[in-house]
Protein backbone atom coordinates (compact mmCIF):
# COMPACT_ATOMS: atom_id res chain seq x y z
CA UNK A 1 0.00 0.00 0.00
CA UNK A 2 2.72 2.42 1.05
CA UNK A 3 4.81 1.29 -1.93
CA UNK A 4 1.88 1.98 -4.23
CA UNK A 5 1.53 5.55 -2.92
CA UNK A 6 5.28 6.10 -3.31
CA UNK A 7 5.14 5.04 -6.96
CA UNK A 8 1.78 6.62 -7.80
CA UNK A 9 2.50 10.25 -6.86
CA UNK A 10 5.62 10.96 -8.98
CA UNK A 11 4.27 8.69 -11.71
CA UNK A 12 0.98 10.55 -11.96
CA UNK A 13 2.78 13.91 -11.90
CA UNK A 14 5.07 12.94 -14.80
CA UNK A 15 2.23 11.40 -16.79
CA UNK A 16 0.09 14.52 -16.44
CA UNK A 17 2.82 17.13 -16.94
CA UNK A 18 5.30 15.38 -19.20
CA UNK A 19 3.70 12.64 -21.29
CA UNK A 20 0.21 14.09 -21.82
CA UNK A 21 1.60 17.48 -22.98
CA UNK A 22 3.61 15.62 -25.66
CA UNK A 23 0.52 13.84 -26.88
CA UNK A 24 -1.18 17.23 -27.10
CA UNK A 25 1.76 18.61 -29.13
CA UNK A 26 1.50 15.63 -31.46
CA UNK A 27 -2.24 16.08 -31.82
CA UNK A 28 -1.95 19.81 -32.58
CA UNK A 29 0.79 19.13 -35.14
CA UNK A 30 -1.88 17.21 -37.07
CA UNK A 31 -4.38 20.09 -36.87
CA UNK A 32 -4.81 23.17 -39.05
CA UNK A 33 -4.27 26.81 -38.13
CA UNK A 34 -7.48 28.78 -37.54
CA UNK A 35 -8.45 32.26 -36.45
CA UNK A 36 -10.09 31.17 -33.24
CA UNK A 37 -9.31 30.63 -29.57
CA UNK A 38 -7.40 28.31 -29.37
CA UNK A 39 -5.94 29.12 -32.83
CA UNK A 40 -6.23 25.67 -34.43
CA UNK A 41 -8.89 23.30 -35.69
CA UNK A 42 -10.37 20.75 -35.11
CA UNK A 43 -11.05 20.73 -31.37
CA UNK A 44 -12.42 17.63 -29.76
CA UNK A 45 -16.11 18.01 -28.93
CA UNK A 46 -17.40 15.26 -26.65
CA UNK A 47 -20.91 16.71 -26.61
CA UNK A 48 -21.41 15.63 -30.22
CA UNK A 49 -20.92 12.04 -29.03
CA UNK A 50 -19.42 9.34 -31.21
CA UNK A 51 -19.98 11.38 -34.38
CA UNK A 52 -17.96 14.27 -32.88
CA UNK A 53 -15.01 12.00 -32.14
CA UNK A 54 -15.17 10.54 -35.65
CA UNK A 55 -15.25 14.00 -37.23
CA UNK A 56 -12.33 15.03 -35.06
CA UNK A 57 -10.11 12.20 -36.25
CA UNK A 58 -11.12 12.55 -39.88
CA UNK A 59 -9.93 16.17 -39.86
CA UNK A 60 -6.43 15.37 -38.61
CA UNK A 61 -3.76 15.03 -41.29
CA UNK A 62 -0.01 15.24 -41.92
CA UNK A 63 -0.31 18.48 -43.91
CA UNK A 64 2.02 20.42 -41.57
CA UNK A 65 4.76 17.82 -41.95
CA UNK A 66 4.42 18.01 -45.74
CA UNK A 67 4.72 21.79 -45.38
CA UNK A 68 7.94 21.42 -43.34
CA UNK A 69 9.39 19.17 -46.01
CA UNK A 70 8.60 21.54 -48.88
CA UNK A 71 9.51 24.89 -47.30
CA UNK A 72 13.30 25.15 -47.45
CA UNK A 73 13.46 27.36 -44.31
CA UNK A 74 12.71 24.40 -42.06
CA UNK A 75 15.00 21.75 -43.42
CA UNK A 76 17.77 24.34 -43.75
CA UNK A 77 17.24 25.19 -40.07
CA UNK A 78 17.44 21.51 -39.07
CA UNK A 79 20.60 20.93 -41.14
CA UNK A 80 22.21 24.11 -39.87
CA UNK A 81 21.38 23.22 -36.20
CA UNK A 82 22.96 19.80 -36.64
CA UNK A 83 26.02 21.31 -38.35
CA UNK A 84 26.48 24.00 -35.69
CA UNK A 85 26.02 21.40 -32.93
CA UNK A 86 28.57 19.08 -34.55
CA UNK A 87 31.25 21.73 -35.15
CA UNK A 88 30.82 23.30 -31.72
CA UNK A 89 31.06 19.86 -30.06
CA UNK A 90 34.44 19.30 -31.75
CA UNK A 91 35.59 22.81 -30.75
CA UNK A 92 34.47 22.28 -27.13
CA UNK A 93 36.36 18.97 -27.06
CA UNK A 94 39.53 20.63 -28.38
CA UNK A 95 39.30 23.38 -25.75
CA UNK A 96 38.07 21.16 -22.92
CA UNK A 97 40.43 18.19 -23.20
CA UNK A 98 43.66 20.07 -22.35
CA UNK A 99 41.93 21.69 -19.37
CA UNK A 100 40.63 18.33 -18.09
CA UNK A 101 44.08 16.82 -18.69
CA UNK A 102 45.76 19.66 -16.82
CA UNK A 103 43.35 19.22 -13.91
CA UNK A 104 43.94 15.47 -13.73
CA UNK A 105 47.72 15.93 -13.65
CA UNK A 106 47.66 18.79 -11.14
CA UNK A 107 48.88 18.12 -7.56
CA UNK A 108 46.22 16.39 -5.43
CA UNK A 109 45.66 19.31 -3.09
CA UNK A 110 44.80 21.63 -6.00
CA UNK A 111 42.09 19.43 -7.41
CA UNK A 112 39.11 20.38 -5.18
CA UNK A 113 39.77 24.07 -5.95
CA UNK A 114 40.11 23.41 -9.68
CA UNK A 115 36.88 21.36 -9.59
CA UNK A 116 35.08 24.22 -7.87
CA UNK A 117 36.40 26.69 -10.44
CA UNK A 118 34.95 24.57 -13.26
CA UNK A 119 31.58 24.07 -11.52
CA UNK A 120 31.11 27.71 -10.42
CA UNK A 121 30.25 29.08 -13.92
CA UNK A 122 27.77 26.22 -14.30
CA UNK A 123 25.77 27.58 -11.33
CA UNK A 124 25.87 31.12 -12.68
CA UNK A 125 22.98 32.23 -14.85
CA UNK A 126 23.24 30.91 -18.40
CA UNK A 127 21.61 34.07 -19.75
CA UNK A 128 24.18 36.32 -18.02
CA UNK A 129 27.09 34.23 -19.29
CA UNK A 130 25.84 34.54 -22.88
CA UNK A 131 25.11 38.24 -22.37
CA UNK A 132 28.66 38.89 -21.11
CA UNK A 133 29.94 38.10 -24.62
CA UNK A 134 27.76 40.76 -26.25
CA UNK A 135 29.89 43.53 -24.76
CA UNK A 136 33.12 41.77 -25.72
CA UNK A 137 32.31 40.92 -29.33
CA UNK A 138 30.37 43.96 -30.54
CA UNK A 139 31.93 46.33 -33.10
CA UNK A 140 32.91 48.88 -30.44
CA UNK A 141 33.39 46.09 -27.87
CA UNK A 142 36.32 45.27 -25.60
CA UNK A 143 37.94 42.78 -27.99
CA UNK A 144 37.99 45.26 -30.88
CA UNK A 145 39.24 48.02 -28.54
CA UNK A 146 42.09 45.76 -27.44
CA UNK A 147 43.05 44.67 -30.96
CA UNK A 148 42.87 48.24 -32.30
CA UNK A 149 44.88 49.49 -29.33
CA UNK A 150 47.59 46.90 -29.96
CA UNK A 151 47.64 47.88 -33.61
CA UNK A 152 46.85 44.34 -34.76
CA UNK A 153 43.87 45.48 -36.85
CA UNK A 154 43.03 48.83 -38.41
CA UNK A 155 39.24 48.42 -38.78
CA UNK A 156 37.01 46.77 -36.15
CA UNK A 157 36.07 43.14 -36.80
CA UNK A 158 32.43 42.16 -37.12
CA UNK A 159 32.01 39.17 -34.82
CA UNK A 160 28.72 39.75 -33.03
CA UNK A 161 25.69 38.56 -35.05
CA UNK A 162 27.76 36.05 -37.02
CA UNK A 163 28.09 32.25 -36.66
CA UNK A 164 31.56 32.79 -35.11
CA UNK A 165 29.93 34.51 -32.12
CA UNK A 166 27.53 31.55 -31.78
CA UNK A 167 30.46 29.09 -31.71
CA UNK A 168 32.26 31.18 -29.07
CA UNK A 169 29.08 31.37 -26.98
CA UNK A 170 28.45 27.62 -27.19
CA UNK A 171 32.04 26.63 -26.35
CA UNK A 172 32.01 29.06 -23.42
CA UNK A 173 28.70 27.97 -21.85
CA UNK A 174 29.01 24.22 -22.49
CA UNK A 175 32.69 23.86 -21.53
CA UNK A 176 32.01 22.50 -17.99
CA UNK A 177 29.83 19.71 -19.47
CA UNK A 178 32.82 18.59 -21.55
CA UNK A 179 35.52 19.02 -18.88
CA UNK A 180 33.83 17.15 -16.02
CA UNK A 181 33.24 13.71 -17.65
CA UNK A 182 36.71 13.73 -19.28
CA UNK A 183 38.33 14.76 -15.99
CA UNK A 184 36.59 11.98 -14.07
CA UNK A 185 37.76 9.43 -16.67
CA UNK A 186 41.36 10.75 -16.61
CA UNK A 187 41.45 10.90 -12.81
CA UNK A 188 40.77 7.15 -12.57
CA UNK A 189 43.62 6.37 -14.96
CA UNK A 190 46.61 4.48 -13.57
CA UNK A 191 49.70 6.68 -14.08
CA UNK A 192 52.06 3.71 -14.02
CA UNK A 193 50.70 2.64 -17.43
CA UNK A 194 52.28 5.75 -18.96
CA UNK A 195 55.58 5.10 -17.18
CA UNK A 196 55.56 1.52 -18.47
CA UNK A 197 54.95 2.72 -22.03
CA UNK A 198 57.83 5.18 -21.77
CA UNK A 199 60.11 2.50 -20.34
CA UNK A 200 59.23 0.33 -23.31
CA UNK A 201 60.35 3.10 -25.67
CA UNK A 202 57.17 4.98 -26.46
CA UNK A 203 57.53 8.70 -27.00
CA UNK A 204 55.30 10.80 -24.73
CA UNK A 205 53.06 11.74 -27.62
CA UNK A 206 52.65 8.12 -28.78
CA UNK A 207 51.94 7.07 -25.19
CA UNK A 208 49.27 9.76 -25.01
CA UNK A 209 47.59 8.50 -28.21
CA UNK A 210 47.88 4.80 -27.38
CA UNK A 211 47.02 4.91 -23.67
CA UNK A 212 45.52 8.17 -22.38
CA UNK A 213 43.06 8.80 -25.22
CA UNK A 214 41.59 5.24 -25.34
CA UNK A 215 41.27 5.14 -21.54
CA UNK A 216 39.37 8.44 -21.49
CA UNK A 217 37.11 7.37 -24.37
CA UNK A 218 33.91 6.98 -22.32
CA UNK A 219 34.46 10.44 -20.81
CA UNK A 220 35.01 11.95 -24.27
CA UNK A 221 31.87 10.31 -25.64
CA UNK A 222 29.77 11.37 -22.63
CA UNK A 223 31.07 14.95 -22.85
CA UNK A 224 30.39 15.14 -26.60
CA UNK A 225 26.78 13.99 -26.19
CA UNK A 226 26.22 16.35 -23.25
CA UNK A 227 27.20 19.21 -25.56
CA UNK A 228 25.74 17.96 -28.87
CA UNK A 229 22.20 17.06 -27.70
CA UNK A 230 21.19 20.30 -25.95
CA UNK A 231 22.92 22.54 -28.52
CA UNK A 232 20.64 21.25 -31.33
CA UNK A 233 17.60 22.84 -29.66
CA UNK A 234 19.50 25.89 -28.32
CA UNK A 235 17.56 29.15 -28.38
CA UNK A 236 19.27 31.79 -26.20
CA UNK A 237 22.74 31.69 -27.82
CA UNK A 238 21.68 32.05 -31.49
CA UNK A 239 19.16 34.73 -30.54
CA UNK A 240 21.58 36.91 -28.58
CA UNK A 241 24.85 36.31 -30.46
CA UNK A 242 23.84 34.95 -33.87
CA UNK A 243 21.72 37.76 -35.27
CA UNK A 244 19.55 37.11 -38.30
CA UNK A 245 22.34 35.25 -40.11
CA UNK A 246 22.29 32.17 -37.91
CA UNK A 247 19.49 29.74 -38.53
CA UNK A 248 18.75 27.31 -35.70
CA UNK A 249 15.64 25.24 -35.18
CA UNK A 250 15.03 26.27 -31.55
CA UNK A 251 14.81 29.88 -32.68
CA UNK A 252 12.54 28.96 -35.62
CA UNK A 253 10.16 27.13 -33.25
CA UNK A 254 10.08 30.13 -30.88
CA UNK A 255 9.37 32.59 -33.69
CA UNK A 256 6.77 30.33 -35.27
CA UNK A 257 4.94 30.25 -31.95
CA UNK A 258 5.36 33.76 -30.55
CA UNK A 259 5.65 35.87 -33.72
CA UNK A 260 3.63 33.99 -36.35
CA UNK A 261 1.24 32.46 -33.79
CA UNK A 262 1.10 29.33 -35.95
CA UNK A 263 0.69 26.67 -33.25
CA UNK A 264 0.18 23.66 -35.55
CA UNK A 265 3.42 24.34 -37.47
CA UNK A 266 5.33 25.07 -34.23
CA UNK A 267 4.09 21.71 -32.89
CA UNK A 268 5.15 19.92 -36.07
CA UNK A 269 8.62 21.52 -35.78
CA UNK A 270 8.81 20.21 -32.18
CA UNK A 271 7.76 16.67 -33.18
CA UNK A 272 10.40 16.48 -35.94
CA UNK A 273 13.07 17.90 -33.59
CA UNK A 274 12.19 15.20 -31.07
CA UNK A 275 12.51 12.48 -33.74
CA UNK A 276 15.96 13.81 -34.68
CA UNK A 277 17.05 13.80 -31.03
CA UNK A 278 16.01 10.20 -30.34
CA UNK A 279 19.07 8.73 -32.09
CA UNK A 280 21.76 10.67 -30.12
CA UNK A 281 19.80 10.24 -26.86
CA UNK A 282 19.67 6.44 -27.28
CA UNK A 283 23.38 6.32 -28.18
CA UNK A 284 24.16 8.43 -25.10
CA UNK A 285 22.18 6.10 -22.81
CA UNK A 286 24.06 3.10 -24.26
CA UNK A 287 27.41 4.79 -23.56
CA UNK A 288 26.34 5.57 -19.97
CA UNK A 289 25.21 1.96 -19.47
CA UNK A 290 28.57 0.71 -20.74
CA UNK A 291 30.58 3.00 -18.47
CA UNK A 292 28.45 1.97 -15.46
CA UNK A 293 29.13 -1.68 -16.23
CA UNK A 294 32.84 -0.95 -16.65
CA UNK A 295 32.91 0.62 -13.18
CA UNK A 296 31.41 -2.41 -11.48
Amino acid sequence: MRRLALIALPYAWLLALFLVPFLIVFKISLSDIATAIPPYTPTLDFRAGWQGIKDFFSELDFENFAFLATDSLYWKAYVSSLTIAFISTILTLLVGYPIAYGMASAPDHWRPTLMMLVILPFWTSFLIRVYSWMGILSTEGYLNQLLLGLGLISTPLTILNTPTAVYIGIVYTYLPFMILPIYSALERMDGSLLEAAEDLGCSRLTAFWLITVPLSKTGIIAGCFLVFIPVIGEFVIPSLLGGSQTLMIGKVLWEEFFNNRDWPVASAVAVVLLLILIVPIVLFQMNEQKSREAEQ
Binding site: R3, L6, I7, L9, P10, Y11, W13, L14, L17, F18, L19, P21, F22, I24, V25, V95, P98, I99, Y101, G102, S105, P107, P112, M116, V118, I119, L120, P121, W123, T124, S125, F126, L127, I128, Y131, S132, G135, I136, S138, E140, G141, Y142, Q145, Y172, L175, I229, G233, E234, F235, V236, G250, W254, F257, A266, A270, L273, L274, L277, I281, Q285
Partner: protein, 271 residues
Protein backbone atom coordinates in the same frame (compact mmCIF):
# COMPACT_ATOMS: atom_id res chain seq x y z
CA UNK B 1 55.01 15.23 -5.24
CA UNK B 2 54.49 15.68 -8.96
CA UNK B 3 55.48 18.99 -10.50
CA UNK B 4 53.07 20.47 -12.97
CA UNK B 5 54.44 20.66 -16.52
CA UNK B 6 54.58 23.83 -18.60
CA UNK B 7 52.01 22.51 -21.02
CA UNK B 8 49.49 21.74 -18.26
CA UNK B 9 50.10 25.03 -16.49
CA UNK B 10 49.50 26.93 -19.73
CA UNK B 11 46.33 25.07 -20.64
CA UNK B 12 44.92 25.53 -17.12
CA UNK B 13 45.76 29.24 -17.09
CA UNK B 14 44.30 29.90 -20.54
CA UNK B 15 41.27 27.70 -19.83
CA UNK B 16 40.35 29.43 -16.60
CA UNK B 17 41.06 32.85 -18.11
CA UNK B 18 38.57 31.98 -20.85
CA UNK B 19 35.98 30.84 -18.28
CA UNK B 20 36.35 33.84 -15.98
CA UNK B 21 37.44 36.89 -18.00
CA UNK B 22 34.01 37.64 -19.53
CA UNK B 23 32.41 37.67 -16.08
CA UNK B 24 35.23 39.74 -14.58
CA UNK B 25 34.88 42.34 -17.36
CA UNK B 26 31.13 42.42 -16.76
CA UNK B 27 31.66 43.04 -13.03
CA UNK B 28 34.26 45.78 -13.61
CA UNK B 29 32.09 47.64 -16.11
CA UNK B 30 29.06 47.51 -13.81
CA UNK B 31 30.94 50.17 -11.77
CA UNK B 32 31.38 52.38 -14.84
CA UNK B 33 30.16 55.97 -14.59
CA UNK B 34 29.33 56.26 -18.29
CA UNK B 35 26.05 55.24 -19.90
CA UNK B 36 28.16 54.01 -22.83
CA UNK B 37 29.05 50.55 -21.57
CA UNK B 38 32.26 50.08 -23.51
CA UNK B 39 33.87 53.41 -22.57
CA UNK B 40 35.39 53.66 -19.08
CA UNK B 41 34.53 57.03 -17.47
CA UNK B 42 35.43 56.51 -13.84
CA UNK B 43 34.19 54.53 -10.83
CA UNK B 44 30.57 54.85 -9.79
CA UNK B 45 27.90 52.77 -8.10
CA UNK B 46 25.05 54.75 -9.59
CA UNK B 47 23.74 51.86 -11.73
CA UNK B 48 23.12 49.88 -8.55
CA UNK B 49 21.07 52.82 -7.34
CA UNK B 50 18.92 53.01 -10.48
CA UNK B 51 18.51 49.23 -10.34
CA UNK B 52 17.25 49.37 -6.75
CA UNK B 53 14.70 52.04 -7.63
CA UNK B 54 13.45 50.10 -10.67
CA UNK B 55 10.16 48.65 -9.42
CA UNK B 56 9.72 46.35 -12.43
CA UNK B 57 12.99 44.55 -11.65
CA UNK B 58 12.15 44.25 -7.96
CA UNK B 59 8.72 42.79 -8.78
CA UNK B 60 10.28 40.32 -11.21
CA UNK B 61 12.86 39.33 -8.59
CA UNK B 62 10.08 38.65 -6.09
CA UNK B 63 8.15 36.47 -8.58
CA UNK B 64 11.34 34.57 -9.41
CA UNK B 65 12.14 33.95 -5.74
CA UNK B 66 8.60 32.69 -5.07
CA UNK B 67 8.65 30.37 -8.07
CA UNK B 68 12.14 29.03 -7.30
CA UNK B 69 11.37 28.38 -3.61
CA UNK B 70 8.04 26.66 -4.25
CA UNK B 71 9.07 24.62 -7.28
CA UNK B 72 12.42 23.45 -5.89
CA UNK B 73 10.79 22.34 -2.62
CA UNK B 74 8.01 20.36 -4.33
CA UNK B 75 10.55 19.00 -6.83
CA UNK B 76 12.79 17.81 -3.98
CA UNK B 77 9.94 15.80 -2.38
CA UNK B 78 8.77 14.33 -5.70
CA UNK B 79 12.30 13.77 -6.98
CA UNK B 80 13.38 11.97 -3.80
CA UNK B 81 10.27 9.77 -4.02
CA UNK B 82 11.06 9.05 -7.67
CA UNK B 83 14.66 8.16 -6.73
CA UNK B 84 13.39 5.73 -4.07
CA UNK B 85 11.12 4.17 -6.70
CA UNK B 86 13.95 3.89 -9.24
CA UNK B 87 16.44 2.33 -6.82
CA UNK B 88 14.22 0.39 -4.41
CA UNK B 89 10.82 -0.47 -5.85
CA UNK B 90 12.05 -3.36 -7.99
CA UNK B 91 9.82 -4.40 -10.84
CA UNK B 92 6.40 -2.92 -11.36
CA UNK B 93 4.07 -2.39 -14.24
CA UNK B 94 5.26 0.52 -16.39
CA UNK B 95 8.75 0.82 -14.90
CA UNK B 96 10.42 1.42 -18.26
CA UNK B 97 8.05 4.29 -19.00
CA UNK B 98 8.71 5.70 -15.53
CA UNK B 99 12.50 5.75 -15.85
CA UNK B 100 12.14 7.09 -19.39
CA UNK B 101 10.08 10.00 -18.08
CA UNK B 102 12.73 10.67 -15.40
CA UNK B 103 15.69 10.74 -17.81
CA UNK B 104 14.08 12.31 -20.89
CA UNK B 105 13.56 15.84 -19.47
CA UNK B 106 17.30 16.04 -18.67
CA UNK B 107 18.19 16.30 -22.36
CA UNK B 108 14.89 17.61 -23.74
CA UNK B 109 15.26 20.98 -25.52
CA UNK B 110 13.59 23.62 -23.37
CA UNK B 111 11.57 24.95 -26.31
CA UNK B 112 9.78 21.59 -26.58
CA UNK B 113 9.10 21.28 -22.84
CA UNK B 114 7.84 24.86 -22.72
CA UNK B 115 5.62 24.53 -25.78
CA UNK B 116 4.08 21.24 -24.63
CA UNK B 117 3.29 22.53 -21.13
CA UNK B 118 1.75 25.71 -22.51
CA UNK B 119 -0.49 23.71 -24.84
CA UNK B 120 -1.54 21.56 -21.86
CA UNK B 121 -2.40 24.58 -19.71
CA UNK B 122 -4.43 26.11 -22.52
CA UNK B 123 -6.08 22.76 -23.25
CA UNK B 124 -7.36 22.40 -19.69
CA UNK B 125 -8.20 26.09 -19.38
CA UNK B 126 -5.70 26.96 -16.64
CA UNK B 127 -4.89 30.69 -16.46
CA UNK B 128 -1.18 31.34 -16.88
CA UNK B 129 0.64 32.93 -13.96
CA UNK B 130 2.92 32.14 -11.04
CA UNK B 131 1.12 28.83 -10.43
CA UNK B 132 1.69 27.49 -13.96
CA UNK B 133 5.41 28.43 -13.87
CA UNK B 134 5.71 26.55 -10.55
CA UNK B 135 4.07 23.45 -12.11
CA UNK B 136 6.38 23.65 -15.15
CA UNK B 137 9.57 24.17 -13.12
CA UNK B 138 8.69 21.40 -10.68
CA UNK B 139 8.25 18.98 -13.56
CA UNK B 140 11.65 19.49 -15.16
CA UNK B 141 13.69 20.05 -11.97
CA UNK B 142 12.32 16.96 -10.13
CA UNK B 143 14.11 14.82 -12.70
CA UNK B 144 17.46 16.45 -11.84
CA UNK B 145 16.75 15.93 -8.12
CA UNK B 146 15.93 12.26 -8.64
CA UNK B 147 19.15 11.66 -10.60
CA UNK B 148 21.26 13.30 -7.85
CA UNK B 149 19.48 11.45 -5.02
CA UNK B 150 19.40 8.07 -6.75
CA UNK B 151 23.17 8.15 -7.33
CA UNK B 152 23.55 8.45 -3.54
CA UNK B 153 20.89 5.81 -2.79
CA UNK B 154 22.66 3.22 -4.94
CA UNK B 155 25.67 3.23 -2.59
CA UNK B 156 23.49 3.23 0.56
CA UNK B 157 23.92 0.23 2.86
CA UNK B 158 20.41 -1.16 3.34
CA UNK B 159 21.40 -3.27 6.34
CA UNK B 160 21.34 -0.07 8.44
CA UNK B 161 17.67 0.38 7.64
CA UNK B 162 16.96 -3.30 8.23
CA UNK B 163 18.62 -3.05 11.64
CA UNK B 164 16.29 -0.16 12.53
CA UNK B 165 13.27 -2.19 11.41
CA UNK B 166 14.45 -5.19 13.48
CA UNK B 167 14.78 -2.93 16.50
CA UNK B 168 11.12 -1.99 16.22
CA UNK B 169 11.07 1.12 14.04
CA UNK B 170 8.09 1.63 11.77
CA UNK B 171 9.12 1.81 8.09
CA UNK B 172 8.42 5.54 8.01
CA UNK B 173 10.49 6.14 11.18
CA UNK B 174 13.30 4.02 9.76
CA UNK B 175 13.30 6.22 6.69
CA UNK B 176 13.11 9.44 8.74
CA UNK B 177 15.71 8.47 11.36
CA UNK B 178 18.18 6.38 9.35
CA UNK B 179 17.89 6.77 5.58
CA UNK B 180 17.09 10.47 5.36
CA UNK B 181 20.05 11.72 7.46
CA UNK B 182 22.43 9.60 5.38
CA UNK B 183 21.11 10.75 2.00
CA UNK B 184 20.58 14.32 3.28
CA UNK B 185 23.64 15.84 1.50
CA UNK B 186 22.33 14.51 -1.84
CA UNK B 187 18.82 15.78 -1.08
CA UNK B 188 20.19 19.22 -0.20
CA UNK B 189 22.34 19.43 -3.33
CA UNK B 190 19.33 18.26 -5.34
CA UNK B 191 17.29 21.09 -3.83
CA UNK B 192 20.05 23.61 -4.60
CA UNK B 193 20.28 22.38 -8.19
CA UNK B 194 16.50 22.63 -8.63
CA UNK B 195 16.54 26.11 -7.09
CA UNK B 196 19.26 27.46 -9.41
CA UNK B 197 17.73 25.80 -12.49
CA UNK B 198 14.45 27.51 -11.68
CA UNK B 199 16.13 30.89 -11.02
CA UNK B 200 17.95 30.61 -14.31
CA UNK B 201 15.23 29.41 -16.63
CA UNK B 202 14.14 31.73 -19.43
CA UNK B 203 12.61 29.53 -22.11
CA UNK B 204 10.14 27.41 -20.13
CA UNK B 205 9.10 30.42 -18.04
CA UNK B 206 8.47 32.48 -21.18
CA UNK B 207 6.06 29.86 -22.48
CA UNK B 208 4.24 29.27 -19.20
CA UNK B 209 4.17 32.78 -17.68
CA UNK B 210 1.17 35.07 -17.91
CA UNK B 211 1.33 38.84 -18.44
CA UNK B 212 1.28 39.54 -14.68
CA UNK B 213 3.99 37.05 -13.76
CA UNK B 214 7.22 38.22 -15.37
CA UNK B 215 10.28 36.48 -13.91
CA UNK B 216 13.74 38.03 -13.67
CA UNK B 217 15.21 36.10 -16.65
CA UNK B 218 12.27 37.21 -18.83
CA UNK B 219 12.87 40.79 -17.72
CA UNK B 220 16.64 40.52 -18.36
CA UNK B 221 15.92 38.94 -21.74
CA UNK B 222 13.74 41.76 -22.97
CA UNK B 223 16.35 44.29 -21.79
CA UNK B 224 19.44 42.62 -23.30
CA UNK B 225 17.85 42.03 -26.69
CA UNK B 226 18.21 45.79 -27.16
CA UNK B 227 21.94 45.60 -26.38
CA UNK B 228 24.33 45.88 -23.44
CA UNK B 229 23.15 48.13 -20.60
CA UNK B 230 24.94 49.21 -17.42
CA UNK B 231 21.87 48.40 -15.31
CA UNK B 232 21.91 44.78 -16.46
CA UNK B 233 25.65 44.65 -15.73
CA UNK B 234 24.90 45.72 -12.16
CA UNK B 235 22.13 43.14 -11.82
CA UNK B 236 24.41 40.43 -13.25
CA UNK B 237 27.13 41.36 -10.76
CA UNK B 238 24.72 40.97 -7.84
CA UNK B 239 23.57 37.58 -9.14
CA UNK B 240 27.13 36.35 -9.77
CA UNK B 241 28.10 37.50 -6.26
CA UNK B 242 25.25 35.60 -4.60
CA UNK B 243 26.00 32.39 -6.50
CA UNK B 244 29.76 32.61 -5.88
CA UNK B 245 29.22 33.14 -2.13
CA UNK B 246 26.77 30.22 -1.95
CA UNK B 247 28.98 27.80 -3.90
CA UNK B 248 32.12 28.68 -1.91
CA UNK B 249 30.24 28.41 1.41
CA UNK B 250 28.77 25.04 0.40
CA UNK B 251 32.15 23.64 -0.62
CA UNK B 252 33.78 24.85 2.62
CA UNK B 253 30.95 23.24 4.59
CA UNK B 254 31.30 19.87 2.86
CA UNK B 255 35.06 20.03 3.34
CA UNK B 256 34.67 20.68 7.06
CA UNK B 257 32.03 17.92 7.33
CA UNK B 258 34.32 15.40 5.64
CA UNK B 259 37.23 16.41 7.92
CA UNK B 260 35.00 15.95 10.97
CA UNK B 261 33.88 12.56 9.67
CA UNK B 262 37.50 11.49 9.21
CA UNK B 263 38.29 12.60 12.76
CA UNK B 264 35.28 10.65 14.05
CA UNK B 265 36.39 7.56 12.19
CA UNK B 266 39.91 7.81 13.62
CA UNK B 267 38.47 8.24 17.12
CA UNK B 268 36.24 5.19 16.58
CA UNK B 269 39.21 3.10 15.46
CA UNK B 270 41.21 4.07 18.56
CA UNK B 271 38.30 3.38 20.92
Amino acid sequence: MRRISWFNATSLTLGFAFLYLPMIILIIYSFNESKLVTVWAGFSTKWYGTLMSNQAFLDAALVTAKVALASSSIATVLGTMAALVLVRAGRFYGRTLFSGMIYAPLVMPEVITGLSLLLLFIGIGLDRGVFTIILAHTTFTMCFVSVVVSSRLVTFDRSLEEAALDLGCSPFDAFRLVTLPIIAPAVISGWLLAFTLSLDDLVIASFTAGPSSTTLPIKIWSAVRLGVSPEINALSTIMIGIVAAAVIAASLMTKRASLRQQADERAAVRA
